[in-house]
Symmetry: C2
Subunit: 247 residues, 2 copies
């Protein structure tokens, strides 16, 4: 469905009829694997502009569904745990010159009252996924859609650098509260795997014993019997989330 927007000729899209005016979603997709944290960025075709994957909201679509749709289109994944974290509603955040630029790159000459040139308020969502399993899909609008190291982000359009910053802050404070990190782990995981997620997201190191104590004190982990017996005395314990406590 959503590919209609990005693949078709914008001159033929009836924005007013299809979408909510002045409202968008932007997604900050954090990719984690093996102690590395990345962010998914688009680079718009025929421009040097980097942006977060985002899109408009259809007339009868929820904000959550719009964000899921964007995610499906951009990295081809469905049923991702998306967390709405903040809505960006500063009157100066929209930059009509950006849209004019990418529209011109598509041989369009939008009038001053064009749907895409108005002020936009954007609802921000983030997700945390395993970037080895989430392979970005390029579409007709973007000529590059790939993972970037969080520590070396380029300058993004509009307020998108600020959106990433706010999302990272929410992700960090929600590691315990909403158990976001567990989306990355298998049903059974070791304490070491869990610690790797926490250390990478929070960008700090923990002592093994105090990390383990803190996690067990959350009251959400259950130690699972080791089933593999050969050399099992050396294998680390496996844990699982306690049922009904996972949000």
């Amino acid at each position: 469905m959503a590919r209609t927007l990005v693949r078709t000729d914008w001159n033929k899209v009836d924005f007013d009829k299809l979408f909510l005016p002045g409202l968008s979603v932007d997604t900050v997709i954090f990719g984690f694997h093996d102690s590395r944290l990345m962010v998914l960025l688009l680079q718009y075709k025929n421009t040097n502009e980097f942006a977060l994957p985002g899109g408009l909201i259809r007339k009868k679509e929820s904000g959550d569904d719009a964000a899921q749709r964007v995610l499906k289109d951009r990295i081809g994944l469905t049923d991702i745990y998306l967390e709405q974290f903040h809505t960006f509603a500063d009157p100066d955040r929209s930059d009509p010159s950006f849209f004019r630029k990418i529209m011109k790159a598509r041989q369009m000459e939008p009038g001053p009252g064009h749907f895409l040139l108005q002020r936009f308020v954007s609802i921000g969502y983030y997700a945390l996924v395993d970037f080895t399993k989430a392979v970005p899909v390029s579409d007709g609008l973007a000529d590059e859609c790939k993972w970037h190291d969080l520590k070396k982000l380029p300058t993004l359009i509009q307020d998108h650098n600020q959106i990433v910053k706010t999302a990272l802050s929410s992700l960090r404070s929600n590691l315990d509260k909403k158990l976001v990190g567990f989306n990355l782990l298998s049903e059974l995981f070791t304490m070491g795997e869990l610690q790797d997620v926490y250390e990478t997201v929070l960008n700090e190191k923990f002592r093994r014993t105090s990390f383990q104590r803190k996690m067990l004190n959350l009251g959400i982990l259950k130690k699972v019997d080791k089933k593999w017996t050969g050399g099992a005395h050396k294998a680390p314990f496996l844990y699982t989330l306690v049922p009904n406590e996972k949000q």
Copy 2:
């Protein structure tokens, strides 16, 4: 400024020119005093409809400023610490019949395409104030604007009961993280006063010693020398927030 909307004849208001389409703010104002937690509600004139104080966003106004303006109009307070907590963007949350009803109560007959009858997405904000210092102001639109016991809320319009529930959940999880409760306290406060805020908001009792230990472990409180000497050995210690740590 905002009184223009609520005091003037809606028939004469050029909504399209003044406000962002399909976007509103709703505020959940929690009032605390002496172990009681209340919520500020409006009752619309000539209807039996209860609602959260809310409003539209002006063309060049931020969401935060719109929420501050609503708060100033409704309870006459300025510079309140407002926390944006969630944006409500379900396509079914808007109820045009509600707006039609309150417009009829004002002798209006809105056409089907009226600005107020479209789908609305609403940005939610909450605040925590001392309800003895925040006296609600009634305006021309509402015939009742007052504090209601959080435990005995009436049925509210649209999804406003859900908005209160989500706000309360955010308030609770932000007590430590964003130190929301400290807005209620003087610069110097006792551990007992702080404990009263926590117990009332979280609706649970804590042991005095473990509450004190938990608060001191946050690393944000500093014990202040008692200055009043007469009978000072019986006076409780006073605390203050550590500078630079207050958000």
